[in-house]
């Protein structure tokens, strides 16, 4: 257990941050290493500062709290998270994504102290495990994103982290996605973004009406398909509007036909 607890405050409203700062000031051994007013700043600060604990607002500009968590959760040394929100509906989901706790605004000193205690316990447990123990937050970003979206909804954007930089890709800009070992390469608007996720997980998050798994390694936006060419018996390729060719497996072709029938 770290002697000093390094804490990051993330909330787009200045009064909410100053309240946390004031409350935390009364706790010995707690050091506020930074304040962020939006999701982008939060991802960057978490990568750079490596805080032990993050107080995370849910509704923020650029990225919401759940998206921030999705981007940082899989990293080794990911911080413990306490959600701060005025919305009860997010509270339940906070637990489902393995947040340490949630604080419903407005909250008092005692409630904050209780959350802080839980965070210390959680961090101590994580530290007691081996070096490569799972981080304090959830490890599975995909499951986390699904929970945050809510039942029966599809992602409308894909968030990708590139070092301290974050890219937000609206799903209708995605041309196709290619599996690459433990990563997926999301091809959109002529650029490719690597994301630590499996293709199956991403496929599950996207609307099956718009994205079809044409091959073990390829997921394609059906709006981008120009035509399907037959190269040899049972060997087909999808030609995208920009001329790019993607292989089609037999079952992938079945899925495409089902989509178009």
């Amino acid at each position: 257990m770290p002697e000093r607890l390094r804490v990051l405050l993330v909330d787009d409203e200045a009064p909410a941050r100053s309240l946390l700062r004031e409350y935390l000031g009364a706790h010995a051994g707690v050091e506020v290493v930074g304040e962020c007013a939006n999701g982008f700043e939060a991802v960057k600060a978490i990568a750079e500062q490596k805080p032990d604990l993050v107080f995370l607002d849910v509704q923020m500009p650029k990225l919401d709290g759940f998206e921030v968590l999705e981007l940082v959760a899989a990293e080794p040394g990911a911080p413990a998270v306490i959600f701060c929100t005025a919305y009860d509906e997010y509270a339940l989901r906070a637990f489902e994504v393995h947040a340490v706790d949630y604080l419903l605004k407005p909250f008092g000193r005692d409630r904050l102290a209780e959350s802080l205690g839980r965070a210390r316990d959680r961090l101590a447990m994580a530290a007691a495990r081996t070096q490569d123990a799972p981080p304090a937050a959830a490890t599975n970003g995909a499951a986390l994103a699904a929970t945050a979206r809510g039942e029966g909804r599809f992602a409308e954007r894909i968030v990708v982290r590139d070092g301290a930089q974050v890219h937000v890709i609206p799903t209708d800009q995605v041309d196709y996605v290619e599996a690459q070992d433990d990563y997926v390469a999301v091809h959109a608007s002529g650029r490719s973004h690597l994301k630590h996720q499996t293709l199956a997980e991403l496929a599950e998050a996207l609307d099956p009406e718009r994205f079809v798994r044409i091959h073990r390694s390829f997921l394609v936006n059906v709006d981008r398909i120009a035509r399907v060419d037959l190269l040899a018996k049972d060997q087909r390729v999808v030609i995208l509007r920009d001329g790019k060719q993607l292989p089609v497996s037999r079952s992938g072709h079945d899925r495409l036909r089902e989509q178009w029938s």
């Binding site: 409203e13 009064p15 909410a16 309240l19 990225l63 005025a86 605004k105």
Partner: protein
């Protein structure tokens, strides 16, 4: 589809009545030129059954020519014309059927003169029969229209109440209260005097909301004051990120509007605009009179990269419904997005409140 033909049971009823009305016709024809009952019925019954369908066609003529104001004379002329056409068709068919019966089925030995007499009877009887049908159809349509009007009125009353309730509930949005209480909580430590001002401001806003919500209409000026109180509270949460520009032209503030119409729009402008923008932006509120219309608009910046929010449009839909209930046909709401600006425009009939009414 004609209401009498829409169901098999009704159709059967029509056919039965039409066949039965063949009896008096046969009786009259026998009186004029004697013949066996069988011959008279064979002639009359198929013809009355046929004519019943022609007579029902008055339904479409009635619907297309409502008796209303200046169109009444036109409608009567149309119906008389339709009656002549109907009876002409009927008589022609009668001639065909009369000759066919004589030739191929049953030679009753009627003279040509007697057959002509039969046709004159058909022609003369056909006109009043058609007109009676037209009158009956007009009565039915009038009955139906008054029924529908009554139902519409009830529906709009229920709709108005529902919309009012929803507006009030949306107004007392708990998340707005929770966030405001959190801000006050923060102020207590750093700026106790500011915390007191916030408490007073929040109380004032809530009291005004309840007072305005209880009335049928308020002036735009009163609504704008409520919006200002609301923005004062939000200013504390958002600081420099929230900037407001008001452009209210003379004469607009004195017009009647439904209560709590504007505040939800401004709340949306914060929730889906300012809150999503890192640097915030300007909420622009405009109001002006253009002839007989009052135009009100709320504009806010939007961030194209904003996280997807749920429940958008519900607030707008509510405002639209309340506008409908309030201002009849001339009212409208349009929402448009141009680049990174979102704009909601309202048009209402401009009805000026008497001087001093706004603080009643």
């Amino acid at each position: 589809m004609h209401p009498l033909l829409a169901r098999p049971a009704r159709l059967l009823l029509v056919l039965t009545l039409a066949a039965l009305s063949g009896l008096p016709l046969a009786w009259i024809l026998r009186l004029l030129s004697p013949r066996p009952w069988f011959a008279a019925l064979a002639f009359a019954v198929p013809l009355t059954v046929f004519y019943s369908f022609i007579v029902l066609s008055a339904w479409w003529v009635c619907r297309r020519n409502p008796i209303r104001g200046e169109q009444a004379a036109h409608a009567v002329a149309m119906q008389l014309g339709a009656a002549l056409q109907a009876t002409a068709v009927w008589t022609a068919l009668g001639a065909f059927w009369g000759v066919a019966l004589q030739r191929w089925l049953y030679a009753s030995g009627l003279s040509r003169a007697a057959l002509l007499q039969d046709l004159v009877v058909l022609f003369v009887a056909g006109i009043p029969l058609y007109l009676v049908s037209a009158v009956a159809h007009y009565l039915y349509l009038a009955f139906e229209a008054s029924h529908a009007a009554e139902r519409r009125m009830l529906e709009s009353q229920v709709g108005a109440r529902e919309a009012e309730l929803r507006a009030l509930r949306a107004q007392l949005n708990p998340h707005f209260l929770f966030n405001s209480l959190n801000s006050i909580n923060a102020l207590v430590g750093s700026d106790p005097e500011g915390a007191r001002r916030m408490c007073a401001g929040l109380g004032d806003f809530l009291r005004r909301t309840l007072a305005l919500g209880a009335r049928d209409s308020v002036t735009l000026g009163e609504e704008l004051t409520l919006v200002e109180r609301y923005l004062d509270i939000e200013q504390l949460r958002f600081g420099d990120r929230l900037r407001v520009v008001q452009a209210v032209e003379p004469g607009a503030a004195e017009c009647w509007v439904p209560p709590l119409l504007l505040q939800p729009l401004v709340e949306n402008a914060i929730k889906h605009g300012i809150q999503d923008c890192v640097a915030g932006g300007v909420i622009r509120i405009e109001a002006k009179r253009v002839g007989d219309a009052l135009r009100v608009a709320v504009e806010n910046p939007v961030d194209p990269d904003a996280p997807v929010r749920r429940g958008e449009g519900v607030g707008l839909e509510n405002v639209r419904r309340r506008l409908e209930v309030f201002g009849a046909r001339e009212s409208q709401l349009t929402a448009s997005r141009e680049g990174e600006l979102f704009r909601v425009s309202l048009t209402l009939p401009a009805v000026q409140a008497p001087a001093g009414a706004s603080h009643a």
